[in-house]
Subunit: 451 residues, 2 copies
Amino acid sequence: MLSIQEFIKANMSQYKKDMVSLVSIQSISAQENHREDLQKVATRAVELLREAGASAQVIQNDEFPVAFGEIKVSNDAPWVTVYNHLDVQPAGEPQWTSNPFEPVLTEEGIQARGATDDKGPMLSIVYAIKHLKETGQLPVNIQFVLETEEESGSKHFGQFLEKNNSLLHKPDSILVSDTIFDGDNPAVTFQLRGLTLGVIELKVGEAGVHSGMLGGLARNPLATLTRAIATCIDDDGGVLIPGFYDGVQEPTAAERKIIEQVAARKDFARIRADTGFSEFYTQDPREAEMRTTFSPTFELHGYEPEASGTKVSGYAKANFSMRLVAGQDVADLAGKLQEHLRKTHPGITVNIAEGSTAVKTDLDNPFMERARQAYVPAFGRPAVFVATGGTIGAFPPMQRKWPGVPIVMAAQSLMSDGYHAPNENFKWQQAERGIQTIATYLMSIGDLRTS
Amino acid sequence: MLSIQEFIKANMSQYKKDMVSLVSIQSISAQENHREDLQKVATRAVELLREAGASAQVIQNDEFPVAFGEIKVSNDAPWVTVYNHLDVQPAGEPQWTSNPFEPVLTEEGIQARGATDDKGPMLSIVYAIKHLKETGQLPVNIQFVLETEEESGSKHFGQFLEKNNSLLHKPDSILVSDTIFDGDNPAVTFQLRGLTLGVIELKVGEAGVHSGMLGGLARNPLATLTRAIATCIDDDGGVLIPGFYDGVQEPTAAERKIIEQVAARKDFARIRADTGFSEFYTQDPREAEMRTTFSPTFELHGYEPEASGTKVSGYAKANFSMRLVAGQDVADLAGKLQEHLRKTHPGITVNIAEGSTAVKTDLDNPFMERARQAYVPAFGRPAVFVATGGTIGAFPPMQRKWPGVPIVMAAQSLMSDGYHAPNENFKWQQAERGIQTIATYLMSIGDLRTS
């Protein structure tokens, strides 16, 4: 029987070809002109699932198809839902050194939009399961749910779960590979922040006015919005919206221990090198870890208009996000934000485009410890548990549908891979070790059930 | 001999055709892809000057040609420089009810970009002079200087004056028709604000970062810029930059009288109706007049990035303008702004794209009184003197070249014409009465000289 190492050695050249086929598809969910590419990537994923031994099909879900597949080994085996996503971030950044959808392959890895987020890690799971299936070692039933709206907040994913209830098995656990290592350490995420995206707006005129004719008299809505938003933030990245931190829980003793461990490994020089960002609100490692995981944020992403010139615009908008932690509610925060901004101007409105709450998996859940240990054969050490600041919009609806089912987030990506950044890439070594780790994990959970 | 009224009656249908030919040319100086249109409009203007009896030519001035023409009636006659501009504002506003460069003609007037700013008023002057020339009534020599960079700040106009020194006569007065009425009252402007355009910038990263990974830790430059700029403005449109108002002079007694007169006529309901703007920083008419004419401004026009999404941008920019009054200096204010912003963050920079100082013509200059009275025959009453909040970038270099030469700004446009706004238009009645007024004015100044 082929060992997992032999399987990987024999199959990496095919893995690379499959990666090229996946990342060449411009599956940008945020851009309407790429809807056809979402169909293409779902269709390609279904082919790959079938090659892995699954029965598979594309299930339409409004404009965001899902590649759905199933491998059933036994009526008695526990079920694992494999969730990953096939859509990608836009790739318009000028810093790309290659066409983001014409993959560049080197000895080390592959550069293309979607390589690490999330096509590479997704493909590793498919390959791991293919090996286990072919060698008769798969101890669990698998349901693949590979969706195409994650980078746009998975707004239609709850509806997918409801509409396809008859197809879906309640799983004993959910496996996801869409998070990143902690420096050089393999990592299993036990907590994600929620995400709220919204727009703050003030309109005082139907069109712009000439700043010579009426400048100084006509209210400048961009200036008023600037003043209002400035009252929401302090100079250290803290949020001044009254009540913003209400309900935020202090970390437990076990979580505090993890924060201390992660903080001890925090390497600011490396974060600078990996991201190109030079300034951080704190230099204290523990505080930095708290801010990116256990603390909520309020971030500004852009204003409208972008215009230069001399016109005073009749309207102004600000695009913002909030990362939410456990105990915070989207609608509640949107209300607090609007109430606060209206102290500066009563005409300001806040509209929420999408919102999802934080997600947490119990640290002492047995699936988590098995996942942690599964990294030992390939990476030489167990994973660390980490809280992650990002968001996966599909999780809150999955938790509502399947309460108590643990979500196991097993990372394969590195921070230097460039999640949501120019020159995104995925390393072959991470893929090889990822395949082995996922196979090890799945082989270890055949006896675990969630009642 | 044809009277001016008979001339107008006989020539309005040709005037309308000429207007169509002018406003059909997309002479947008702010957009580089319209450089060829600047050549076209200058060439068309030269044809019109020749039809009026002038010797005329296009003079190149970097990318901004000048239609230059001359009518000399006598060695002994005083010289008048007619300055107007042939370029127009961009016309991308969604509120346009017609294609901005496909003129719509009605009984009342013409709708097209550039109709009132400044092609219509410019053409009225050409027609007035044509009539005076043809009937032998022109008592002054004329030099036409019709440029194509006014809407972009006339940055190359000083260089035009220097390079063409041998062609240019030092004038006894300058005539311009690029300002607007005060409500229903004809108006002669004695003061313009200066204009500074610039960009405030803060950069902390080479590219954006994922707000989930580093949100709350990585400095958000857009948030920092928001906080910094908020400290520059109060809720009433006042400017809080330390030293911003240094050197600003109180209006003289004569100016105060004019402010009171204009304030007495101020009609907020009409301004609302004409502009579509609903909010003003003050409801006090005198204060409103001060703010738009004798007070300097600091206006925000846009931010970069405009982006939505969840990325924290590595840089942020804000586009601003300042309208300057007498006693204020561009470089001095830029320095004060940067110094103040750096109290919030030392990395903030201020770059000035262009700057011009305020311009003033003495109220008791005899040309001004003749201009005021010239409105009586066509409009039934003399013009009012007004201070205007706008800026004409060519004036500071003209004042430097020809110190003491009065600039007479005789309005033909109405506020409802939509300067710099969607659905810009010019009324035929204003054109007819404008031609008569300009002819009356020129006939009245044959005896006036500036030593």
